[in-house]
């Protein structure tokens, strides 16, 4: 079993700023990220900002584990981490959950057809791989980011229509999406984007049986926390999984959480 002072779950901008702070404080840290790139959603919006944090991480103190997911977490601070082939067991003194958020999907008939994308999936395709699924698009949803419109225009994708989700009746098409039926008529496009904001990625906190509070405004569950610590001792939260914020606020959140963890470990195990 591997031993660490701190395990950071989630290599988004919060997790990266936390890792930088942890390497400044010389804590033995493991950063677990399920994708193969660091930076989370921020890398679609500001790649340089992400790289500035990656460069500051001191590899003497921080171990990076890409392409691995946390498959089990227990309240005695033992984690099991796997990528499908190998299996790592870790005993740690504290956990920082910075899993962030995922894109919300809208429920309507045939919403599982190919060529219906979430807005982050499309941004990933365009920004990281320079691939577009078609030349004209319909957008459905309430929260449409300026960045999405700008990216679509820059990559020569024509926006046929932006549709309110209350008008939407169903999507149609055999094998692949072809168009949608709304209360105002039928519209056709190459592909459809669903852009309806995010939900917090709180499965790990659910696994730990954390106390959660329902937020009426965001219509989702957030953990109760006092000075970044949840109701479970040694488990801390920061970033969008705690409450929705912008990237700069998340960076501040990540580094302050690590300072709180440092103080907590000092009180628990004697000053370092």
């Amino acid at each position: 079993m591997l031993h660490y002072d701190l395990v950071i779950i989630g290599g988004g901008v919060t997790g990266l700023s936390a890792a930088v702070e942890a390497s400044n404080l010389k804590m033995k840290t493991l950063l677990v990220e399920q994708g193969f790139t660091l930076g989370g959603h921020t890398r679609f919006f500001n790649e340089g900002y992400v790289q500035s944090f990656v460069r500051k991480i001191n590899n003497n103190y921080v171990d990076l584990l890409l392409n691995h997911s946390v498959v089990g977490v227990y309240d005695d601070l033992v984690l099991s981490i796997s990528d499908g082939n190998d299996f790592v067991k870790v005993q740690t003194k504290s956990i920082l959950v910075s899993t962030g958020s995922y894109q919300k999907r809208i429920s309507f008939p045939n919403n599982d057809l190919p060529n219906i994308y979430g807005y982050l999936t499309l941004l990933e395709m365009i920004k990281l791989h320079q691939v577009k699924p078609g030349n004209n698009v319909i957008i459905v949803g309430d929260e449409i980011h300026e960045m999405l419109i700008e990216t679509l225009e820059n990559s020569d994708i024509n926006i046929v229509k932006i549709i309110d989700k209350t008008d939407l009746i169903e999507a149609y098409g055999d094998e692949v999406y072809q168009g949608i039926t709304t209360k105002k008529g039928n519209f056709q496009s190459d592909f459809l984007i669903v852009s309806d904001g995010n939900l917090p990625h709180n499965e790990i906190l659910r696994m730990l049986n954390c106390e959660m509070v329902f937020d009426q405004e965001e219509q989702s569950w957030f953990p109760k926390s006092v000075d970044y610590m949840t109701s479970i001792k040694g488990v801390f939260v920061a970033g969008n999984v705690k409450s929705f914020k912008n990237a700069e606020e998340n960076v501040f959140d990540g580094s302050s959480a690590v300072k709180a963890i440092f103080n907590y470990l000092g009180e628990m195990h004697g000053k370092k």
Binding site: N115, G118, N154
Partner: protein
């Protein structure tokens, strides 16, 4: 299809050849399997086990819905969104057992 950016210099990318369902296709060096398939106009990634409905690439590296799982070089259920494309990969749709509707 690939995006052509006007006025921005794009580095010439190394071409990588692979086969999908027996067809010869090509992608570039930084591609994942999923992005190479989308660039070649392949949108149906799998068929659902119970209802046999076509499924596309929906979740990216977000909250996994398992729709991009494919058979790569004979290994079933490979997450194509997370696997980088390599030379001479043999990619196929999963042909696992389906639920039988009575």
């Amino acid at each position: 299809m690939r995006i052509k950016r006007q006025g921005i210099f794009v580095f010439p990318q190394k071409q990588i050849n692979f086969t999908f369902e027996g067809k010869n296709l090509s992608g570039i060096k930084t591609d994942t399997i999923a992005s190479a398939l989308l660039a070649n106009g392949i949108f149906v990634f799998s068929y659902s086990r119970k209802t046999n409905r076509p499924q596309g690439y929906t979740c990216s590296t977000d909250f996994c819905t398992g729709s991009c799982l494919m058979t790569v070089n004979g290994v079933n259920n490979v997450q194509t969104c997370k696997t980088l494309l390599k030379q001479d990969m043999k990619i196929e749709r999963n042909r696992g057992p389906k639920h039988v509707t009575l």
